[in-house]
Symmetry: C3
């Protein structure tokens, strides 16, 4: 966990901006929750020009909408820092103003999530989970986080 899907209008986020957003989203998630960075997946999805509406009217200008799916079971205060942190990442690296940012966070039970082929552990059990993994899989994950 988690998966952060980032929606933006086709052509507005350069390859460099996407890389910077993915790096900062991953870093923020890890820093706020304490989870290893290799748990984070960031996927960008395009919205075609004209396919985005606010208040019932075609959107003028830009917007970035980040929808995260993460393990549940964390304290409210941590989740508050998480969504605000994501907002700030998008403002800093996405080339948009604060009012052009939407962030949603959907929580899932860890038992409903498979990453790298394994069902996820409860928050806080990551070390045991990793230690019990066959060595090649563990090394692959640790290399990702490096």
């Amino acid at each position: 966990m988690p998966t952060y899907t980032v929606f933006s209008t086709t052509g507005t986020l350069s390859s460099e901006r996407k890389a910077a957003i993915a790096r900062a989203v991953t870093h923020t998630h890890s820093q706020v929750t304490g989870a290893n960075t290799f748990f984070a997946q960031v996927v960008f999805q395009d919205v075609q020009p004209g396919d985005w509406f606010l208040g019932g009217a075609r959107m003028k200008g830009d917007q970035i909408y980040l929808c995260g799916h993460a393990r549940g079971g964390r304290p409210a205060e941590m989740k508050n820092r998480l969504v605000l942190g994501m907002r700030d990442v998008l403002v800093e690296h996405g080339g948009v103003a604060r009012h052009q940012v939407w962030v949603y966070l959907v929580e899932l039970p860890p038992a409903h999530m498979i990453e790298y082929g394994y069902v996820l552990p409860e928050p806080g059990q990551e070390s045991d989970w990793l230690a019990n993994m066959p060595q090649p899989d563990r090394e692959r994950l640790e290399a990702l986080g490096a």
Copy 2:
């Protein structure tokens, strides 16, 4: 809140139909829930021809799938009217029959949702939320709803 993502096969919904659907989805959400229209985001996503399956077989004909993410905490009767209302919108404006419509509604805690850069209020607290916002941000939202 909310975000309504509308999936359809590439090329089946004209620009005019999309605008009509977005307007009616937003209107229906506001009318059923009492929330301001500016809370509603509608995003269209294409599915490539051949990439949609029902019952394990490639879909023949058209379908529209609307997946909403909205604040939780509303009574069951209201949510029932909401999903049925969305179905009727898609039949009326989407050019499909009733059996070609799917609607899902995922609920989130308001604290997990940022729109226009601000964490959302609980349902019913919208007026205070808006009143406490800096004036330029409030005016921007009110202009969207107009």
Copy 3:
């Protein structure tokens, strides 16, 4: 129910692989949960090359990410078999290794889901739901499952 959305990089899954995945995802869902196959919708979504990040870095190689939305109210053991079954389907039919598979399962109340124009029944109430449907609609669904 359910909807399984399958994310892969543009061009990596052939039309044949997609059909095989959709068939096996639907079969697995039906076999594990006991629900009729016509309840299952599988939608493929492309991720553009370079738009997928793991651990904050651009992904090298392939990955398949399946995100399911299904009715809640099933026992944990069944859901465990479900997510592991989906993983195995993607390895068998998707041309990827086990460590290249992610699976998430989001649960929704049946009352929040409309399929083929009808609000879904609770798990186990499918037969009554179907029996109470107008005949043309029922026959359409039964033909899909054939």
